[in-house]
């Protein structure tokens, strides 16, 4: 291979076709990928762990198929990165937490297994906010990830490493997890395509749980088509996740080119008017909707006032479930344990105090309080009712519209450290994305503009009906095609 780095920008389809046509091998892709990572990773720090042995073994498997003349799987030879909260045997799964810094996966996450079974090459595990608590990847025990568009800025979070790795072309696709916006918000801040599927569409088995009723795994990519290819691979019922559904899984690539003619697109007006939403973000969103209208969509506007309570409900439900899900990190069976406990309570308290970072401790405290006797009804009970009302509000909106459009993030990427001391301001980063997790709806963020002042990417969020990712992606693909943006960041 002479033009190693050129492989870095290829789409999943181009890689598979290149390998099938023997223009390059899967082994070439692996070497080109790590060469590219060698150049860019020091400035970005997208990865907690690189897995060249696993990647080379997977590539050899693909190349053997080529040699044998066998049909290649849909993601054959596609370099993929995984958020470091997804289990894969042969890797550490740290959740960017000190408490799991030495934890080796004893089993495979279903979505990861499906992605690799589709031919993708496991390049490494990506940095994240500890246990996915955060919107900047600053809450990692292993250091911040830098935004490839401006290394002094955050890539968003919590799946910031997965987003940055794709944006910087260190991998073609990656998996993230989204509990309140942890895929879509970093997608917007890094200029990538970032999707949260419908709750239940993708198995959660093997992803370290943050909030079980909100978590969903989804892809980062540089094109809507690649996102659809990954979704094809990871979707579908899984016997090991009781909340995964038996909905049929269509070929999400099949309808990408169908256009938006006649589709009813609803712009969520009151979200645009929210205090804190930057003017350039509002304008980019309105421009996106006008573009869809020019492509033949029927455009209208709607208010979703109940969704404005989403943030409050989310910061009860999310921490409540997290406080329970993180109880297991107790120093007994795995993870960080103090060396000299005086008794079991001392072992628990100091192992956890030493192992968890401040934001994690804050969420555990919040959730424990919200579930405590005497407070349950006022907090958790009220939050669940709010959640029901938000779901109903969306259901009603989808009687009028096929998809809804909002900004993804109220601002472009902010400076590292800018919001670190102000958790409430950080929490507001997810104000547009959180309502979808509460309602279980699918959403995709695609880049729609670059800031005139900073050149940083701006994302727009397209929201689909339950299990109608196909229509959502079709709208995204139409917009992507019409805007035809060059989203290659400086550090790539």
């Amino acid at each position: 291979m002479s033009q190693k780095t050129d492989l870095a920008g290829l789409s999943a389809r181009a890689i598979r076709e290149g390998i099938a046509g023997k223009r390059f091998s899967a082994g070439d892709v692996v070497e080109a990928t790590y060469a590219h990572i060698d150049v860019h990773e020091p400035g970005i720090h997208a990865f907690n762990e690189l897995t060249p042995d696993l990647a080379r073994a997977a590539a050899a498997h693909i190349d053997a198929k080529v040699a044998a003349g066998e049909e290649l799987p849909p993601l054959a030879g596609v370099p993929a990165a995984l958020k470091d909260n997804m289990n894969l045997v042969g890797t550490h799964t740290t959740c960017s937490s000190r408490i799991l810094s030495d934890f080796k996966s004893p089993y495979d996450c279903t979505a990861v297994r499906r992605l690799l079974d589709a031919g993708a090459l496991p390049i490494g595990k990506c940095n994240m906010d500890e246990f996915a608590f955060g919107s900047s990847t600053e809450n990692s025990a292993f250091g911040v990830t830098h935004n490839p568009w401006d290394l002094s800025r955050v890539p968003g979070g919590s799946s910031g490493g997965s987003a940055a790795a794709v944006a910087a072309r260190m991998v073609t696709v990656s998996l993230g997890s989204d509990t309140g916006g942890s895929i879509r918000q970093p997608g917007a801040l890094t200029g990538t395509v970032a999707m949260k599927p419908t709750y239940g569409r993708v198995s959660r088995y093997g992803i370290v749980a943050f909030a079980s009723s909100l978590d969903q795994i989804g892809p980062f990519s540089r094109s809507v088509e690649d996102a659809a290819l990954v979704l094809n691979a990871i979707s579908g019922h899984d016997d090991t996740d009781a909340t995964s559904v038996r909905e049929p899984v269509p070929d999400f690539t099949a309808t990408l080119g169908d256009g938006v003619k006649g589709l009813r697109v609803g712009l969520v007006r009151d979200m645009l008017d929210l205090e804190g939403c930057a003017a350039e973000v509002r304008e980019a969103t309105e421009m996106s909707v006008r573009t869809l209208e020019s492509l033949g969509a029927q455009v209208g506007e709607i208010d979703l006032p109940m969704s404005q309570h989403g943030l409050a409900a989310y910061y009860i439900i999310g921490p409540a479930e997290a406080s329970s899900n993180l109880a297991r990190f107790d120093g007994i069976r795995y993870g960080h344990r103090v060396s000299d406990p005086s008794d079991v309570v001392d072992l628990y308290m100091r192992s956890r105090a030493e192992g968890f970072g401040p934001e994690t401790i804050r969420r555990i405290m919040l959730g424990t309080y919200a579930l405590s006797a005497g407070y349950y009804d006022a907090y958790y009970g009220t939050a669940q009712k709010t959640r029901t009302l938000i779901t109903r509000e969306f259901d009603a909106a989808f009687e009028q519209f096929d998809v809804l459009v909002t900004p993804t993030s109220p601002t472009v990427a902010f400076k590292i450290g800018e919001k670190a001391e102000d958790p409430l301001s950080m929490y507001l980063s997810d104000v547009f994305t959180i309502p979808l997790n509460l309602a279980g709806l699918p959403g995709v963020s695609i880049p729609c503009a670059k800031s005139e002042s900073t050149g940083l990417p701006i994302g727009v969020q397209i929201i689909g009906k339950h299990f109608d990712e196909a229509t959502m992606l079709r709208v995204a693909a139409a917009l992507e095609g019409a805007l035809d943006l060059d989203m290659r960041p400086p550090a790539a």
Partner: protein, 508 residues
């Protein structure tokens, strides 16, 4: 001793007892939320997987068979089956609990109100000083039955008797973690330790009949905790209760409750007050002692288990489970009394155990209904004695229903005497040979040929003139001695009643 003082205490105080009974669903193939097998003991931490070890990212998937078994148990106890139910997380830290929360049920259990009828007789019936002391039946309410997962087991090393006090360190074995555990809560309808024992025993029988658990109190697959309070007779307000744990046998259950009732009475009699607390039954010291008080109780922070969707049972689904209900001991007893003319006591003993009852019914089917009573007698007599003496399980016994049927048939036909039958049974139980073969080999065939008997009688009369004279002079009690002589003459094979009949005729 508490037991001796119980009657006196119960004269003045009424006890109010409710039970919480945990039953491991040991007959299921897999654990509650994963595919690991369910079994007792074994090399520590060998029946585990990411799910039952609470590994990061592992998810629980409910075992449908366990849900069905719980609903089946609920139907057997006439419980209301909830149309909508769900699991909750019960949260507290303990090293034997992998996730540091237990998946259990809270306000939406699978089974609601039901009941269990018990009978009390014998000495225990006298504990009800408000009744006449004779046998009685009473109905105990069932509050709820829910399903949860069992915890692992702690092994404390370096302390005494495996207790944590004084231990140097502790090990955890997660083999038991995630075993399906059904919890039944009774209404506080129980008034005496004997009623508590009968309730637990009856529940065990039903669970065994349903085939959901081996209900071994020794191995911990059935664990009974008791809540007990007392109040002066005539008082309607409830007293402060204590919870008693570690009652590992039915006797322990009875004795611990008896002790606790007397202890509470002593406290009250001395002007003290009962502290709401959990107490531990020490079977060696025969006393309860405080374990922890409710003041230190956990806030379990229950909330709906988000890893699972709620359960909605349709009437059709519940009916399908109901159709799987086997005949239960009470119904079987009534049928045995009705169809086979057995006494209530015999029918009860025969009907309690599923296998024992099936053995009986098979033997009756082969021998014919008229022989049901002798079959019952054999089973409750020699056969039970044999099984108990050698602690042989019925399934391991060499005696088959066909062999027992044949035995009662040959006795009925007069082929062998009752005394010979006992020998045949003993040999049959030891060798597994059929009665016919044993009779043949041992030359046991009973002689009913009157000619042969008459000849033997003649020989005995000629050989014993003095005894004949005494008999004829009025000492008719000698008849037994004559029978013995004739039987000896016939090497034991004479038909005893014919021998008797012919002797009386010849001597008279």
């Amino acid at each position: 001793m508490a037991k001796d003082r119980l009657a006196g205490v119960l004269e003045r105080y009424e006890a109010v007892i409710g039970l919480e009974i945990h039953t491991e669903l040991t007959s299921l193939n897999s654990k509650m939320f994963c595919g690991c097998p369910v079994a007792f003991g074994g090399e520590p931490n060998t029946r585990v997987c990411p799910v039952c070890l609470g590994m990061p990212g592992a998810l629980p998937v409910p075992n449908e068979a366990a849900v069905e078994a719980t609903v089946l148990a609920g139907l057997a106890l006439d419980c209301e089956i909830a149309p909508f139910s769900q699991f909750h997380r019960k949260q507290y830290f303990y090293p034997d609990m992998p996730k540091d929360y237990q998946i259990s049920q809270y306000d939406l259990p699978f089974c609601g109100l039901g009941h269990l009828d018990i009978e009390v007789d014998g000495e225990g019936a006298k504990q009800r000083v408000d009744l006449d002391g004779g046998p009685y039946a009473t109905r105990i309410g069932v509050t709820r039955i829910h399903l949860e997962e069992d915890t692992g087991k702690m092994v404390h090393v370096g302390g005494s008797e495996g207790r944590i006090a004084g231990a140097d360190h502790s090990l955890v074995d997660f083999n038991r973690a995630g075993t399906p555990l059904m919890e039944l809560v009774s209404e506080p309808d129980i008034r005496t330790p004997e009623e508590a024992r009968r309730f637990a025993q009856k529940l065990r029988l039903i669970m065994l009949n349903l085939g959901v658990s081996d209900c071994s109190m020794e191995e911990g697959s059935m664990r009974v905790d008791g809540n007990v309070s007392i109040r002066l007779r005539g008082e309607t307000e409830l007293g402060t209760k204590t919870e008693i744990k570690n009652m590992n046998s039915f006797k322990a259950l009875h004795d611990a409750l008896a002790f606790e009732i007397v202890r509470q009475a002593d406290v009250l009699d001395e002007g003290g007050r009962i502290v709401q607390e959990t107490r531990h039954w020490d079977v060696t010291a025969k006393r309860t002692s405080a374990l922890r008080s409710k003041e230190e109780a956990h806030d379990y922070r229950y909330f709906p288990e988000p890893d699972m969707v709620p359960f909605e049972f349709s009437a059709g689904w519940i009916d399908a489970i109901r159709a799987r209900l086997p005949e239960l001991p009470d119904a079987r007893r009534e049928r045995f009394m009705r169809d086979f003319g057995l006494s209530s006591a015999d029918a009860r003993t025969l009907s309690e155990d599923v296998e024992f009852a099936a053995f009986f019914e098979e033997a009756v089917a082969l021998a014919g209904t008229p022989l049901a009573k002798p079959i019952a007698n054999w089973m409750l007599g020699d056969f039970s004695a044999y099984l108990n003496a050698g602690t042989v399980a019925l399934s391991d016994a060499k005696v088959t229903p066909a062999m027992l049927a044949e035995l009662v048939q040959v006795i009925d036909a007069g082929t062998i005497s009752g005394k010979q039958a006992k020998q045949v049974f003993t040999e049959m139980a030891e060798t597994g040979d059929a009665p016919g073969a044993i009779i043949e080999i041992r030359g046991m065939k009973q002689v009913s040929d009157t000619g042969a008997i008459e000849a033997a009688v003649e020989r005995v009369i000629i050989a014993n003139p003095d005894e004949v004279a005494s008999y004829r002079a009025g000492k008719t009690t000698l008849i037994g001695w004559f029978v013995g002589q004739v039987m000896r003459e016939m090497r034991g094979q004479g038909n005893p009643s014919l021998v008797n009949e012919i002797l009386v005729k010849k001597l008279g």
